[in-house]
Symmetry: C2
Subunit: 307 residues, 2 copies
């Protein structure tokens, strides 16, 4: 089943301890869709400026991403310039220019309104709500947000949360939204705000999934080298949502497997700058790392019990 | 099979954001043995001063810990005073007085020399080597160390490492010992120094186990409230080593289960100040949290495959 993603398509300039990459194709909707398309067809709703390169469009369309919803408007494409610290866990935004993204008013095409799987990447929660208003009861709605909206649009966001099945946040955002420092308490508090499932992304420390029935914790796949963490969270969401759309069922069991696939996809994207690693990735590589991930986290419990 | 642990028995004064506890029984050998004794008989080799309370001795002996190797000498018992920061991940040592521990020259009793399982808690690596010299080929030797010895006794430590089967370090110590910031590279470099298995303790982020064949990663059990992290690493080691001694075999599979039991024990000790939670703990509680831990980390892989 196909997925619709609404969010940013951008040009990023990234500096990390491993080097730098100026003006590369990025944005939440981009990372999400390049990851999700391994699992299911993806349709993007986004806006770019008149400077958006034919080459960038080609990157997306040649990977089977439906770009009918990629609006091109006079002006410049969203640009972000960031620099990561030595430990890669924190970064400074050196400059950000929303450009045409500032006037983004997402409009779904008729077939997108009937989508089954919808991912609301990090945009103003008012726009996320307006997207939901356009849809006809999707089977699954997942959404992301950021500290800015938690601080500035708290009321709108809290009204939106009961309409979202799965919310993704990083640990700091989870603390901020809930007002709880402890992540278990933060997770429980956020579930009471509406979403059925909460995914707390902890970077190199993995992911915590909260649902009413249970908690699920996975480490991040340990890598020998991290080149560029940009887009890891959206790539995670793409693998996660992609697996659910491909599987077709949402249960505790498929949610957990989806978290593993999301973690697998995120472990690839950080190995090179920007989209480079995802664009060269094969299904065989995904499958091998999925197996390695399962082996990494397998406590051999059943083997011990059976002895 | 029984375990011998060599290390500190101390009085700690602990301040955490949750409160404070002055002059409570602590020390690496204490936490280790109170955790390990749930799984196997434990014998302690340590030194205390003339101020060591009969009540403290009673705490240990009433929990079936063999204290024949607990030497009492004129002078004061080792004292440590520390304060944890708001996030509980870092702490400041406000004062430390080695007292009689400064002159500690561990001497094993004849039956301790023939022990099968030996844990060398964090003491001067020269002393750790002298303990090994006294033993008659134990089946398994595990050891801990700290930044001080890595900085000041690097040569002695590196000569000791090939004699240790399982080394436990925290992430900063692993980085310092290996000179590698990346933990995967750090882990591989340390395995080349001698130990067959390396356990990297990451506090609230869990444990990474490195062996020549594989990596194993577990998260820490997410808790709603952490009261006092003191002793968590030694409690982990106690649960880990305890399970291995009880099981009797050291395989990739039992090592992984041991990491889970270590994590389970560590998740209890931080719930109250000092030893309080471990002293009130029942086997049923351990078993319940073990099951909860397995459920927490179970990716439901096999269920998905079988569908």
């Amino acid at each position: 089943m196909s997925i619709v993603v609404v969010g940013s398509v951008a040009y990023d300039s990234v500096e990390t301890p491993a080097g730098s990459a100026p003006d590369i194709l990025g944005g939440a909707a981009t990372y999400f869709s390049i990851a999700a398309r391994f699992f299911a067809p993806v349709s993007v709703v986004a806006v770019v400026g008149s400077d958006f390169k034919a080459e960038s469009r080609q990157v997306l369309s040649s990977h089977n991403i439906d770009l009918r919803g990629l609006e091109q408007r006079p002006g410049k494409t969203f640009r972000w310039h960031g620099r990561y610290h030595e430990d890669m866990n924190t970064r400074d935004t050196l400059s950000v220019a929303l450009n045409v993204f500032e006037g983004f008013r997402p409009t779904l095409l008729p077939d997108q309104r009937r989508c089954d799987y919808l991912f609301l990447a990090n945009i103003n929660p008012e726009l996320q709500a307006s997207v939901l208003d356009q849809t006809q009861s999707p089977r699954l709605v997942a959404g992301d947000t950021m500290n800015k909206w938690i601080a500035e649009s708290s009321a709108v966001l809290k009204k939106l949360l009961p309409r979202i099945d799965i919310l993704t946040l990083n640990d700091e955002e989870a603390r901020m939204l809930s007002g709880e420092h402890n992540l278990v308490r933060a997770g429980r508090a956020i579930l009471k705000m509406g979403p059925k499932t909460l995914l707390v992304k902890r970077g190199e420390y993995g992911v915590l999934q909260f649902s009413s029935e249970s908690m699920f914790a996975v480490p991040a796949y340990p890598l020998e080298e991290v080149i560029d963490p940009t887009g890891a969270g959206d790539t995670f969401a793409g693998g996660f949502m992609g697996f659910l759309a491909r599987n077709g069922r949402v249960t505790e069991s498929t949610l957990r497997t989806a978290v593993v696939y999301g973690s697998v996809m995120a472990s690839f994207v950080v190995e090179k700058f920007g989209l480079d690693r995802l664009l060269s990735l094969s299904w065989e590589e995904i499958d091998n790392r999925y197996r390695a991930f399962i082996e990494l986290t397998d406590s051999h419990h059943s083997r011990w019990i059976s002895q």
